[in-house]
Chain length 343, copies 2
Amino acid sequence: MTETRVTSLDVARLAGVSQSAVSRVFTPGASASKKTVEKVRKAALELGYRPNVLARAMVSGKSRIIGLVVAYLENHFYPDALGKLSNQLQKRGYHVLIFMASQTAGDIDAVVEEILDYQVDGIVLASVAMSSDIAERCEQAGVPVVQFNRYEDREGISAVTSDNRAGGRKVAEFLLAGGHERIGYIAGWEGASTQRDREAGFREALAAAGQGVFARGIGNFNAETARTAARAMFDLPVADRPDAVFVSNDHMAIAVMDVLRFELGLDVPGDVSVVGYDDVPPSAWPAYNLTTLRQRANLMVEETVGILLDQIECSDSAPPRMIAIDGPLIVRGSARIPEGWTS
Amino acid sequence: MTETRVTSLDVARLAGVSQSAVSRVFTPGASASKKTVEKVRKAALELGYRPNVLARAMVSGKSRIIGLVVAYLENHFYPDALGKLSNQLQKRGYHVLIFMASQTAGDIDAVVEEILDYQVDGIVLASVAMSSDIAERCEQAGVPVVQFNRYEDREGISAVTSDNRAGGRKVAEFLLAGGHERIGYIAGWEGASTQRDREAGFREALAAAGQGVFARGIGNFNAETARTAARAMFDLPVADRPDAVFVSNDHMAIAVMDVLRFELGLDVPGDVSVVGYDDVPPSAWPAYNLTTLRQRANLMVEETVGILLDQIECSDSAPPRMIAIDGPLIVRGSARIPEGWTS
DNA sequence: ATGAAAGCGCTAACAA
DNA sequence: TTGTTAGCGCTTTCAT
């Protein structure tokens, strides 16, 4: 039970070669004769040697660690994305170091400093606000950053989102085609680009049809807040309440459906049509059967990884990229389906 | 836009002290005069210096990284636990490095090797099977391991679970008190200690009342498999199907409720009582309102962190600890409530 | 192709 | 309290 730390030197001695020979055998683009490789591999196996990633990181300047900052894990979209991200990165030899950001705004700067302390090769900011300090610090440290499901356009920082504007439009068009005339909206956190874009696209398409938002509430991407907003919006006589509502993410939409049905005794979609955004797993459960705009998490993650590794591996700094991925409207049963609706 | 790497030496020069003085200022238990501290802090701030965690790890042997192996993120219990774990560790100056384990059995050994390469200070195995190799490798590397929500009792490895046996018993007693006489069970993955213990406790209490399991299906902790099991168990004439079913986690229980209600047209709890295990957020949603045994994730995580840090910080290796945390039955509306039921 | 030697940025003896 | 020195385990010139 002696705590054994096997080093390359141990292996070298056993194999009868120099320490640098061992290093070469374990370094992808290195030169070593068949013979040396063989001897070293054998010795390494015998001793159970594996290179120390940290030591390698020190000298090479590459840690193969990606820092991930996450704020909300309640919304199932995020754990889902996290899993996919971690998997993809793992396949390419990187790993994810997690940092939880409390919702507190200023906090994020401190978190990013902490991340940088670990000499990460890249950073993914999942749904947290950027500050210009962060951008600067990371650039000066030479660490690429990509924002996931959020962007701040004043900075020159890469971002991957779904095409929220187009998504908002699609939702409006669907509701309009369904003949709704009093269409409400429950907003997410107003500081989020996702929220702003979804609403902008939504209003755009409503306006094109000569309508506006009949009622507006704020849910902050939080279930409880969304419930409160739903009560305020719907606990009213028929004529005063919406006949349809676009809730800006599924996490809230589900909470809203529960309020409508179980607290207010309304029928969905009979009395009110509900449409969400994300297409998280519970939206497909028959009890909700939520019509929603799908965010293609797989593609979003692929793009994120692509951008990151481009920047890391091709040091001639690739320019920041802004990607918006289109997603389909998944028509289920929570909103009235227009006659002859196809696409 | 020059990539600046500020080192302690830079700070030392600016502050007019030695490099080790700088190190001392940034090392918790070190000695430095007010004056030195002041000069160094000022210089550090000016240059934006922060210690390199990796370099520190190399020499101190402590990386302040905890490796976490996770397999399922679909079951919301895990993201939830992950968030809590990461938060608690972060408060104590540690961070979580994620490793996704495919369900593949042998895979886990390779993953653990990879983790060890990062010189982690500890490992949390969340619901993945141990092998004796792992135990040995980690012990020999001097890295403490704790299993979360699973255990293998043949190894001397710490584990934190809920008291699954007691939980299974409580569920049975509740169903029995409700007057059910044909009680079914849908099992999780049979390789899991959680599954075994829940079933053991459940059967124990049934047996004590002179009953047995009326029907048994296997869901493998997977929603789709659970649906299949539910169809086989319930698509039968009244007399041949259970009047109650204990589904061994909520993730499956919700899927089962959907099958019962929407595919088979059965009323829950009118025709069938359903009880789950975990108390994940969706279980509280009115559409399910699932009676379930709560796993106290907060306590489980606290214990996990406690054990880990004890082993890491008090090098006189604390013995492995097995913790089983009792959880309450949360009585909601998916199962018939016995007359005058209180506790 | 291989070995010797010089660090990567830091902490921890050891002296002073 | 402080500076000097010796590494942590590795990659990478530079000779050979």
